[in-house]
Amino acid sequence: MSLLNLVLALPLAGFLIACFIPRSSASGSRTFALLLSIATFVVSLGLPVAFQSNYSGEQFLTDVVWIPSPEIHYHVSLDGLSLWLVILSTFLTPICVLISWNYIKDRAKEFYAFLLLLEFGLVGVFAAQDLFLFYVFWEVSLVPMYFLIGIWGHERRIYAAVKFFLYTMAGSVLMLAGIIFIYNRAATFDYPTLLGMLSAGKLSFSPAEQLYLFLAFFLAFAIKVPLFPLHTWLPDAHVEAPSAGSVMLASVMLKMGTYGLVRFCLPMFPGAARDCAPWIVILAIIGIIYGALVALVQPNMKKLVAYSSVSHLGFVVLGIFSFTQLGIDGAVYQMLNHGISTGALFVLVGLLYERRHSLEIVDYGGVATAAPWLSTVFLVTTLASIGLPTLNNFVGEFMVLQGSALVNFKWTIFAAIGVILSACYMLWLYQRVFYGEAGEEVRHHVPDLSAREWAVVIPLILMMVWMGTYTQTFLPPVSKATARVIEQTNVNVPFRVQYPPLNEMRARVEVGHAR
């Protein structure tokens, strides 16, 4: 049994066991969830250790027939694209258990069971290499999140949960139609086989088919990302979800969309993807600027962070549709960065909410005097989020901007406005919440970090610094995988103008300088 299967099996087993923990023992279920999610994380650390970063193909491969007819495989494996996203999921789950430790009192057993089921679904989405299996995990991850928001959320939780479910469902049914269409043409759901057939010319789609298939997949992913103007479910879901839900949603579930774009949309429908790229990039840039502007005026902290996600994810989409190695590398790296830094922001906002029971910015002020360590940690996270060099987001954003500049410098200019705006809204938020005169409520009810909370924030801060200073740990496998994606986008599009490879481009830039 490969390590990856173990990483999948542990949360699933945990979910099933958690269902049978007696209701009376709330602390039993949270301890169990913590131990199990830590165990899963420790096991999953074996993945990058055993990962061969100079090999771009599938690793930790398991491929067995699940349903013989129509042939559906349980085919899971990892490559550089999915490796770190799986680690991100397993890394954040224990953190989510810890931040819910005291907050979730009602129906604790169900809460932790759903959290573990969510982890199973998320790892599965990133590991699945069979289109049908991918769709199964995609939908399975929807169910626990729906309950997490709907049962343990804030006042308008039901509206938010239903909206979240329906938006995702509406997008994914069209993807299902696309998957079935592909199966009827290729007689397989197996993704590597499909790509092999595409590059060997055994399977081809007419331009019209390719466009419709691309749009069917793209819509499902774009809703999940979420790309402007499909983002309206996101602020609702984030604001209403409990902290753990917000963290998982922002850090990992949004990445399902961007991951899907890189993994499926580009290699399978390269022609349509290139044709649509200018339009998508425009939407992404609108998202970057619009998300940032809306974040600027939010009175609610969670909503502010949610809109900042719309902005940050715009960068990811921009990077992907630049079709450059640098841009896609940056996009994948930015997915991980955003997972860490926005996850941390939601964690910290959640800590504030637990203390003050409010998400409105006006209710705060002067937290820095009441809780200096909390404020320091928040500051580091803020700086990471706005892309300060030596912290993680800088690397990703820089790569994305550079990648887009290779294609069209105007894109870079507009996208860079988003970076400036992100500094505006984050620093302004920080100023309003942490500086100034501490009110009565804040002084008495906002204690500093407890030991459990330190245990949550230290790993997050460490990751921000690590990913911001030593990218060498993370980027090589990513680059290997994205190089392959780019290679795949170049097959079977003979009649298209292709962007010159990176080196040539560099050479040209240097020549320009020499002049």
């Binding site: 013989p68 007819s69 129509p70 939908e139 929807l142 479910f165 329906l166 509406a170 139609a177």
Partner: protein
């Protein structure tokens, strides 16, 4: 001619007796129940239920035994094939799942138990005859046995005004539809000189075929009759009223058993005898499928009564099965079979929960009454969650796999628009199914959930068994799927 001088070749052979074993068992048991009822009356109490349980389980064994000895019986009137075996098992299982929760129901409403179980068994007999028959008159007889018993069951609580309304509507409109079906049979006989499906097909495809106009007329008339029975648009008007008014265990039954059997004959008639003019009826089914899905789902969105909502949902699900029929392939038939099995399980399960929750006199039938059920009775809520996710079509449930298989068959037949519209429809449907989950888990318990009785053993089994079945169909569909696939190719 006196009976005892019947020619020797008309006496049923032992093989023929084996092939109608399930019908024989159920008829004998049903008659026995009626006799016992005359003698014991209400004193028989749960004994009637036990007898019908034993009879239904014996009938399944009989079906399997008959299925091992496939072939025609009684001069080709009946045809025991894989298709018939599949649907026989399905309708008998539906019968079992109706008997299980009805113990509690009959006690609660202090209704006569003997007649109820006898009528139920007779209805199942009718459905078994329907799905096995390969001849139009036989089909008609089965349809009538099944329908008349169902009409009576719908009005079983004779002091309940809603049940009376339900029964009357069901009877009047049902008879009307049967009339159409019978006209269709008459015209078929008139133009082909036969009521045997195989012969009819032979004449239509033969060297001297009748005018396609008349065949089409016969097909259209039968389509109207059967469309009513499966409650597909535009013949769905009766379903919400009947489903709402009938006692809930009966609603569970008529939404699954008679519907599955009606679809079985729908498939058998249209895919064998009328298959040669398939290109002519395909647009009709196409439109009916789309209309059923759309009307059913959009009407369900605004319902406040759960039984009415599930009635509209069942109209929508009839639409999905019609999508499979529109494909006009073996894969389509297999998909329809698989879907009907999953549908029967999830729908009965949902209605059993309604029956359990609604309490004596069925007072609590509104969606609000589900509030807080997740806190009060987690097992009931968990099983209903599985049924709802299966009705929505979330992966790892039978409902999802069935839907997947249906739309796969439809895409293979290049029905791209029908597939896209159907799938979008299922996203719309998610909304009203989610409302029930919202109520159960995200609201505080209301009056209904506070007053709900503990589950009886029968009800518990009627919830856990279908839930397990749905998960098996969703995770390991292979066995049922293979059976459906082999049975569907046999049909043609």
């Amino acid at each position: 001619m006196p009976v005892n001088t019947l020619p020797a070749n008309l006496w049923p052979t032992s093989l023929e007796m084996v092939r109608i074993l399930p019908e024989v068992i159920l008829t004998v048991a049903g008659t026995l129940l009626m006799l016992l009822d005359a003698v014991l009356g209400k004193k028989g109490r749960h004994g009637y239920g036990h007898i019908s349980m034993v009879a239904l389980i014996a009938a399944i064994v009989g079906t399997v035994y008959a299925g091992a000895n496939q072939g025609p019986a009684f001069g080709g009137m009946l045809l025991v094939d894989g298709f018939a075996t599949f649907f026989r098992v399905l309708v008998i299982v539906v019968g079992i799942l109706t008997v299980l929760p009805s113990y509690r129901f009959l006690d609660r409403e202090s209704a006569e138990p003997g007649e109820f179980h006898a009528l139920l068994l007779f209805s199942v007999v009718g459905q078994c005859v329907m799905v096995t028959a390969n001849e139009l008159i036989m089909i008609f007889i089965g349809l009538e046995i099944s329908s008349i018993a169902s009409y009576v069951l719908a009005g079983y609580l004779r002091d309940d005004r809603r049940a009376n309304e339900s029964s009357l509507k069901y009877f009047l409109l049902g008879s009307f539809a049967t009339g159409f079906f019978l006209y269709g049979i008459a015209i078929t006989y008139g133009i082909t000189g036969s009521t045997d499906l195989t012969t009819v097909r032979g004449v239509i495809t033969g060297s001297n075929p009748p005018s396609v106009l008349f065949v089409g007329l016969a097909a259209a008339l039968m389509f109207v009759g059967l469309g009513f029975k499966v409650s597909s648009a535009p013949f769905q008007i009766w379903a919400p009223d009947v489903y709402q008014g009938a006692p809930t265990p009966v609603t569970a039954f008529i939404s699954a058993g008679p519907k599955a059997a009606a679809f079985a004959i729908f498939l058998r008639i249209f895919m064998t005898a009328l298959d040669p003019i398939g290109r002519n009826w395909e647009p009709l089914v196409w439109m009916s499928a789309l209309a059923s899905m759309t009307i059913g789902n959009f009407a369900a969105l605004t319902q406040t009564n759960v039984k009415r909502m599930l009635a509209y949902s069942s109209i929508a699900h009839a639409g999905y099965v019609l999508v499979a029929m529109t494909a006009r392939t073996d894969k389509g038939i297999a998909a329809a079979m698989f879907y009907l099995a999953a549908y029967a399980l999830m729908n009965i399960g949902a209605f059993v929960v309604v029956a359990h929750l609604s309490g004596s006199g069925e007072r609590y039938q509104n969606i609000e009454d589900f509030a807080g059920l997740g806190r009060k009775q987690p097992l009931v809520a968990a099983t209903l969650t599985i049924f709802m996710f299966s009705l929505i079509g979330v992966p790892l449930t039978g409902g999802f796999f069935g839907k997947f298989y249906i739309f796969k068959a439809a895409l293979e037949s290049h029905l791209i628009w029908l597939t896209v519209l159907g799938l979008l429809n299922s996203a719309v449907a998610a909304y009203y199914y989610l409302r029930i989950l919202v109520m159960m888990y995200m609201r505080e318990p209301g009056e209904a959930a506070e007053k709900v009785e503990p589950l009886s053993l029968g009800q518990g089994m009627a919830l856990v068994l279908p839930a397990a079945g749905i998960l098996v169909l969703g995770i390991f569909p292979t066995w049922v799927l293979n059976f459906a696939n082999s049975a569907s190719s046999f049909l043609r």
